[in-house]
């Protein structure tokens, strides 16, 4: 079964979703991410969805799960690269991904995550979110 690669970039983990995901793959990704987060003690997760021409409630749920799980491990999640037609569809679908930060692309996403991590303080003793 294919595996989605997770890269470490600075203090973040970067995941690029390139293909159509089905259940097993989505679960595997969530497991992998949790493990890597603990291993590397990364403070941020950057999910690049610029290759997705569609996000349905299943993918939406996966993104929310990842963000929730990351939060428990004191990491920020930023989703980048959403396409306009996907954003418009999500809004119509009623899925607003509350609790997930977004940025236009990977560069801005990294900048945002770093800002958020710094605002919290290096040891994560910062304010509530």
């Amino acid at each position: 079964m294919e595996q989605i690669p997770i890269l470490k970039v600075g203090r973040c983990l970067l995941v690029s979703i390139q293909i159509d995901m089905h259940d097993k793959l989505a679960l595997a990704l969530q497991d992998d991410l949790t493990q890597k987060l603990v291993e590397t003690r990364a403070r941020g997760v950057l999910i690049d969805i610029s290759a997705l021409d569609l996000v349905d409630s299943f993918i939406g749920r996966m993104l929310s799960n990842i963000a929730a799980m990351a939060r428990v491990l004191d990491a920020q999640t930023v989703v980048v690269g959403m396409r306009p037609q996907v954003a418009i569809t999500l809004v119509e679908l009623g899925l607003t991904l509350t609790g997930i930060q977004t940025a236009l692309d990977v560069d801005r996403g990294l900048a945002l995550i770093n800002r958020l991590i710094d605002a919290e303080g290096e040891d994560g003793a910062g304010g509530a979110h």
Partner: protein
């Protein structure tokens, strides 16, 4: 006229082609429904000549009662081109159909002259000819109608886009002045424009100015929230500006939760946007006297 063997029309037309063309042109130019100046006499002559040629060729090889047949294709294409351009130029449907229908009189005159002796044959030939020309006349009208429909749709689209402009106010800051009511179709256009612009310009803040929106009720508020949510998914925050006192009252009255920063004026929204994006506008140092 699959009995093109028995009909004399194709041969007669070919034999008297130039005479027919001349009297047909005369009829067209004389008809008061032809716009003066819109179409030159030479152009009209060329079009009529072409048509007659193809018409005669079609008569020789195709059935007279089915104009959708393959052998009538050249004639149909010619007529489609013709109707389409007339529609674009603003001719009326009658003016356009006159091209075909005005062919009847000269054609019948020709038939009467040549088939004098046999009344029954004359009757049949005229009947065949009139049915065929009527069919082509209707075809012309249909193509004309389709062309007009396309024009209207295109104009409606352009109007919709014109009324929802997106302005790049500053580095990383966009402004969208909304004018008129915000219905669901308009909202779709606004969202598409805004999001495409966000991608193009890398903007981080979008100021949506509603000074030009007459009323804000529950529906309009929903549309605004949708637009704000969509922009957020693309990493851009929104500020609503142009909140008039009555609007502010209505929002509170209806208990609408806008969940986005709102300012009374575009200037205030702009100042906030600059701050948020870490930009500063400074006054140039005064010149020494």
């Amino acid at each position: 006229m699959v009995a093109s063997t028995t009909s004399r029309i194709p041969d007669l037309l070919e034999k008297h082609q130039s005479k027919l063309l001349a009297s047909w042109l005369e009829r067209q130019l004389a008809s008061s429904s032809l716009r003066s100046g819109q179409i030159g006499e030479d152009e009209l002559k060329e079009q009529s000549q072409k048509f007659l040629r193809e018409f005669i060729a079609g008569l020789k090889s195709a059935p007279a009662d089915d104009i959708t047949e393959q052998s009538w294709r050249q004639v149909r294409e010619l007529l489609s081109e013709f109707s389409h351009s007339r529609a674009l130029q603003g001719f009326t449907p009658s003016e356009t159909a006159t091209f075909i229908f005005s062919l009847k009189e000269p054609l019948f005159t020709l038939l009467r002259e040549e088939i004098k002796a046999d009344a029954q044959a004359l009757g049949e030939e005229i009947w065949t000819a009139t049915r065929l020309i009527d069919k082509f006349g209707l075809f012309t009208a249909e193509i004309y109608q389709q062309s007009r429909d396309e024009i209207i749709k295109r104009q409606a689209r352009e109007l919709l886009e014109l009324s929802t402009p997106v302005v790049e106010l500053w580095h990383k800051i966009l402004a969208i002045p909304l004018i008129g009511t915000l219905d669901s179709e308009r909202t779709q256009t606004v969202m598409e424009n805004l999001l495409n612009y966000i991608v193009k310009s890398g903007a981080e803040i979008a100021i949506i100015d509603i000074t030009g929106v007459p009323t804000v009720d529950t529906l309009v508020a929903q549309h605004l929230i949708k637009t704000v949510s969509a922009a957020r998914l693309m990493g851009a925050d929104c500020i609503i500006s142009g909140i008039r006192p009555q609007i502010a009252q209505t929002i509170v009255h209806l208990g609408l939760q806008l969940d986005v920063v709102s300012k009374a004026t575009m200037a205030d929204a702009f100042a906030l946007a600059l701050k948020r994006t870490g930009q500063v506008v400074t006054r140039a140092a005064a010149r020494p006297a």
